[in-house]
């Protein structure tokens, strides 16, 4: 079993139940996920056979109330879950992030009672899969510029446009699609069998290979009136969903960093060069201490961010600061760990390079590192630097 680094005994401040949840997910990742991930990564496929188990364990919709099938637990528990899953692979965490924060959260927050009853229990159990379509081929950091349009018609709406880099896009039974209706961003639930809706897999990825990434196209795709999310009006709605997902990413990235640190530390103690362990060289020690240093800071950041979120005090800029810090440090750590593993670190015998490649995506998705910098920049100076 993986023993995560906890240099400042941060996890000891969790409740017994929270620690038990951490251990249970860790055991699941150790036993069910790590033995198969290298193969799925190589083949570029998400291990769909684990989806029912993710549902049974309550990892889909952690914060959604039990009456809708969720686990009804705190944001701290959600964060811990994302950390344990991403210790396995960013693709595994992405699956749960999208399902929970980008599909179940908007249906729960902006959906009608009927929509909640129809979709949430199935999504929580993993019997149904969802995806979230906001980003477009020409609008990533600039979602307000979206070109996808909805037109009011008899009994519903006609959607036209395309969405890019959509996690779970090929697997999804339902897509939460954002489109402009009379110039205002609205959310629509589009079932996969709707005519005019097609999904095409993104090929040739070097990153997040064990994750389903697709392009969604809507050509005169009709959705009935009851499929519009009634409470979602304007760009704030999809951005609020991203805020939930980014919160999970801030925790998740630390999991990937912990996996890389652990692997590099163990390797350095047993690998010998010049007749001594590579861990005994000053440069290696410096690398390892820098990793520990950054992981410890990031763990503290997560813990406090979780407490803020559970007390209703976390603002979007708090989440931005944690996302930018934690993902950036995780990527640095993955690269540094890879250098300790040297040539051995380039194969899938070790997990570090897989994390490293994944984190390149995590650095730029759900708000690029740069955009998060400017979000915090705007908050502290009052000047918006990107509009």
């Amino acid at each position: 079993m993986f023993f995560p680094v906890d240099y400042y005994h941060i996890y000891e401040s969790l409740s017994d139940e929270e620690r038990m949840i951490q251990r249970s997910i860790r055991q699941f990742v150790d036993e069910k996920f790590l033995p198969i991930i290298a193969d799925f990564h190589a083949r570029g496929v998400f291990p769909t056979e684990l989806i029912p188990l993710l549902g049974e364990m309550g990892l889909l919709g952690v914060t959604i109330p039990e009456e809708y099938g969720g686990a009804g637990l705190s944001h701290t528990v959600y964060g811990l879950a994302m950390q344990e899953l991403e210790r396995g692979d960013s693709g595994l965490r992405s699956f749960a992030s999208v399902q929970g924060s980008l599909v179940m959260y908007p249906i729960y927050t902006y959906g009608s009672e009927e929509q909640k009853r129809r979709w949430l229990p199935g999504l929580a159990s993993g019997k149904l899969i969802g995806c979230f379509g906001l980003t477009e081929p020409d609008h990533g950091s600039d979602p307000g510029g979206m070109e996808t349009k909805a037109l009011k018609t008899d009994g519903g709406y006609i959607l036209n446009g395309s969405k890019m880099w959509i996690t779970n896009g090929m697997l999804a039974d339902v897509a939460v699609v954002w489109a402009k209706l009379d110039g205002i961003v609205r959310g629509f639930l589009v079932e996969k069998e709707r005519q005019g809706f097609t999904a095409r897999a993104v090929k040739g990825k070097y990153s997040l290979r064990a994750s389903d990434t697709a392009e969604l196209s809507f050509m005169d795709c009709f959705v009935p009136e009851e499929n519009i999310l009634p409470q979602a009006q304007g760009l704030r709605a999809p951005l609020s969903c991203l805020n939930e997902a980014r919160y999970g990413i801030a925790w998740g990235a630390v999991g990937a960093a912990m996996a890389c640190y652990n692997e590099a530390l163990e390797y350095s103690k047993t690998r010998t060069q010049f007749g001594r362990a590579v861990a005994s060289f000053q440069i290696t020690q410096q690398k390892l201490v820098e990793m520990l240093n950054e992981i410890t800071k990031a763990q503290l950041l997560c813990r406090q961010l979780g407490l803020l979120k559970d007390n209703g005090k976390a603002q979007y800029y708090h989440v931005s600061l944690a996302k930018r810090n934690n993902v950036h440090m995780a990527l640095d750590i993955a690269r540094s760990a890879r250098s300790i593993l040297a040539a051995n670190g380039i194969t899938d015998e070790y997990q570090t390079i897989r994390h490293m490649l994944n984190l390149e995506s995590v650095l730029t998705y759900e708000g690029t590192h740069e955009i998060h910098t400017l979000i915090v920049g705007e908050h502290i100076t009052g000047f918006n630097a990107f509009k």
């Binding site: 949840i21 699941f28 879950a81």
Partner: protein, 249 residues
């Protein structure tokens, strides 16, 4: 079906065991304690039987206060109730534990008593048989398959080189072997539900027992290997050594 599962808390299988200075006990300072893996099979089997036939699953464990975390693990998997028999430490003599467990089991009027075939710490492998004696019930050990129809039990046991199928009737004691089932992971909801279950604490005076732990010793250090030769010519000598010295073939 009213089912009891007797469980024990043991050190994690990956623990590097350190002894106390006087070698009379294991130093517990850095030990991560878990639910005995064979008991997990017993808990899982009980839960599956409950799901099939309705009923209730009660977890029973003896030991110091720390064992409540193993009890919570079993509750988090889905058990309904738990009894903690308080003891300063696990008795050195399994007969003492069996006597205490039996006293609690008698009060519960259980249809079926499940437990792991052995605890991975002291490996006595006696509990099912001792309980059978105490309770005057049939015990089937090393069980890898269990079928219950009405009050008839058909159990498949693992024996050396074969499987043995036995029958008996309820109530009975079943000791689980690896392969009986695949224990579920505790779900987030299960863990939170377990938090709300009150563990019944029982104070009991334990017998002295007839066994005393005199000392623990570390296993002997492995000596360096021996290279017999580097060509096919060495095979006969290797075979001879494996047979006569190492006695492994």
């Amino acid at each position: 079906m009213n089912i009891a599962v007797c469980v024990k808390q043991v050190p994690d299988t990956e623990t590097r065991i350190k002894l106390t200075d006087d070698h009379k006990a294991v130093n517990e300072d850095d030990i991560n304690f878990i639910l005995n893996p064979y008991d997990e099979f017993a808990v899982e089997e009980a839960l599956q039987l409950k799901e099939k036939n309705d009923g209730e699953v009660t977890i029973i464990s003896l030991g110091p206060d720390r064992v409540t975390s193993a009890i919570r693990s079993a509750l988090a998997m889905g058990a309904d109730k738990a009894i903690h028999i308080k003891a300063e430490q696990h008795p050195a003599d399994p007969a003492v534990t069996a006597e205490a467990l039996a006293a609690v089991l008698k009060e519960g009027n259980y249809d079926l008593i499940l437990l792991g075939k052995q605890a991975i710490d002291d490996d006595h492998t006696q509990m099912a048989s001792l309980l059978a004696e105490e309770l005057d019930l049939p015990a089937v050990t090393v069980v890898i398959k269990l079928d219950i129809e009405g009050d008839k039990i058909t159990a498949e046991r693992e024996i050396d080189g074969a499987h043995e199928v036995v029958e008996c009737s309820l109530p009975a004691i079943i000791a689980a072997q690896r392969g009986l089932n695949e224990p579920r992971y505790a779900s987030l909801k299960g863990i939170m539900r377990a938090k709300k279950i009150q563990i019944e604490a029982k104070e009991m005076s334990l017998a002295d027992g007839q066994l005393e732990i005199v000392e623990f010793n570390y296993p002997p250090q492995k000596s360096a290997g021996k290279i017999v030769g580097d060509s096919a010519d060495a095979v006969p000598e290797l075979l001879r050594l494996l047979h006569e010295e190492a006695k492994v073939i």
